[in-house]
């Protein structure tokens, strides 16, 4: 009787262990995914190929820029988010074609494709040792602004077993009472945001 109970207990334990192993098996995608390099704003995140330091985040309802002698104004159904960063290649020239805005609940906003060739925008060409200012432009929902992360990797496919930069956007423009500052119109013609 005792032996039988012991056998039964062993079988149950084995089943539980197997079930736990089955549930927690890492997927191929997770095993060979990107390696995040985390940093905050005004800190340098060093990935294998480039360094990035996010300097400023701006929000706007409209953006404007000059393109082939014409002034272009773009509206959005949410907010424009403009991220200005200083970037440097580490060992060889390369370019960065896009960035991603990861919201607090994991919604991933790819860089907006609506602005055609605005100045200082991606693709950003980087050279080793030469720091370049570049911008990433997103359309985001207003509720995806707090606790967001900027994700950047070199042009091409998402990195596998290679570094990608995850920058916590923790220094947003806020008024004294903590409300987010949203400009009505931001001009992209100059990097300091002043009107041309």
């Amino acid at each position: 009787m005792k032996r039988r109970l012991a056998t039964l207990a062993l079988i149950l334990i084995a089943a539980a262990v197997l079930f736990a192993m089955q549930r927690t098996t890492p997927r191929y995608d997770e095993l060979t995914g990107a390696i995040p390099v985390r940093a905050g704003m005004h800190e340098t995140a060093s990935t294998r190929l480039f360094d990035i330091e996010v300097q400023r985040v701006q929000f706007a309802r409209k953006i404007a820029y000059r393109y082939i002698g014409k002034d272009v104004v773009l509206t959005t159904s949410g907010l424009w988010a403009i991220v200005t960063a200083s970037l440097t290649a580490r060992s060889e020239s390369m370019s960065i074609t896009r960035g991603f805005w990861d919201g607090p609940q994991g919604l991933r906003y790819e860089q907006s494709d609506r602005a055609v060739n605005p100045p200082h925008m991606t693709p950003i060409r980087l050279d080793p040792g030469l720091s370049t200012l570049g911008r990433f432009l997103f359309e985001v929902r207003p509720d995806q602004v707090g606790d967001a992360t900027l994700v950047v990797w070199p042009s091409g496919l998402p990195p596998r077993l290679d570094a990608e930069a995850h920058i916590a956007l923790d220094d947003l423009p806020r008024a004294a009472d903590g409300a987010l500052e949203v400009a009505d119109l931001v001009s992209l013609n100059r990097l300091d945001g002043a009107q041309p």
Partner: protein
């Protein structure tokens, strides 16, 4: 008698696999021949949840102009334009909306894949972001000799979300299925008035207060 029965038994025993297969096939054929369940009918302006997309149909019209929302229409061709609001219900920005709408074409129409244009600034193949509805136009270019019905039925096709696929463990949208249908009247050769843009998302009111 006995040897004959024995023979029959042996035959059944050896042929049981194929017998089951034949019976199953017959049952499936009979079930498949039954009446197909009617698809859900939606009115213009209804919110249709179609997997990755939420579709709000607005209007449809036929254009014979040279260019409609940036899509070129050759002489002798016509374009069916369907304007809908699209809202991305998935977790990432996407352009995978081409197969979401499928008009029920007359037998002689052989349209190509639609071109999709954003109405906000006539951008082709726009990237649509999660939870941010935008009005877009689907433009199908087809031969000018095809006569389209006055009321065009259009099927809405939804894909199912699979959180992890079996090989890579990545999320996947799969298994396209017709989930409904809406019918829009076609105003032949009416130039579009500037359509009102979709209202900003419901959260837009709380723009100033984001924690």
């Amino acid at each position: 008698m006995r040897p004959a029965l024995g023979k029959l038994k042996t035959r059944i025993a050896t042929g049981v696999g194929s017998t089951v297969a034949v019976c199953t096939a017959t049952v499936y054929t009979i079930m498949g021949a039954g009446t197909v369940a009617p698809v859900t009918q939606y009115q213009p302006g209804a919110q249709i949840d179609a997997g990755r997309w939420q579709v709000v149909p607005h209007r449809a019209w036929i254009s014979k102009a040279e260019r409609v929302y940036g899509v070129r229409v050759q002489p002798g061709q016509q374009a069916l334009v369907v304007e809908v609001d699209l809202n991305n219900r998935s977790a990432s920005s996407s352009r995978a909306y081409n197969d979401t709408l499928k008009p029920k074409w007359p037998a002689d129409a052989k349209p190509e894949n639609p071109d999709v244009a954003l109405l906000r600034d006539s951008k082709m193949i726009p990237l649509l972001h999660p939870g941010m509805p935008e009005r877009v136009a689907y433009v199908w270019v087809l031969s000018g000799s095809v006569s389209l019905p006055e009321k065009m039925p259009i099927e809405v096709i939804a894909q199912t979300y699979k959180p992890v696929d079996n090989l890579y463990g990545t999320p996947l949208w799969t298994n396209p299925k017709v989930i409904g249908q809406f019918t829009l009247p076609l105003d032949i050769a009416t130039a579009p008035a500037t359509g009102t843009l979709p209202a900003a998302s419901s959260a837009a009111g709380s723009t100033e207060r984001v924690s």
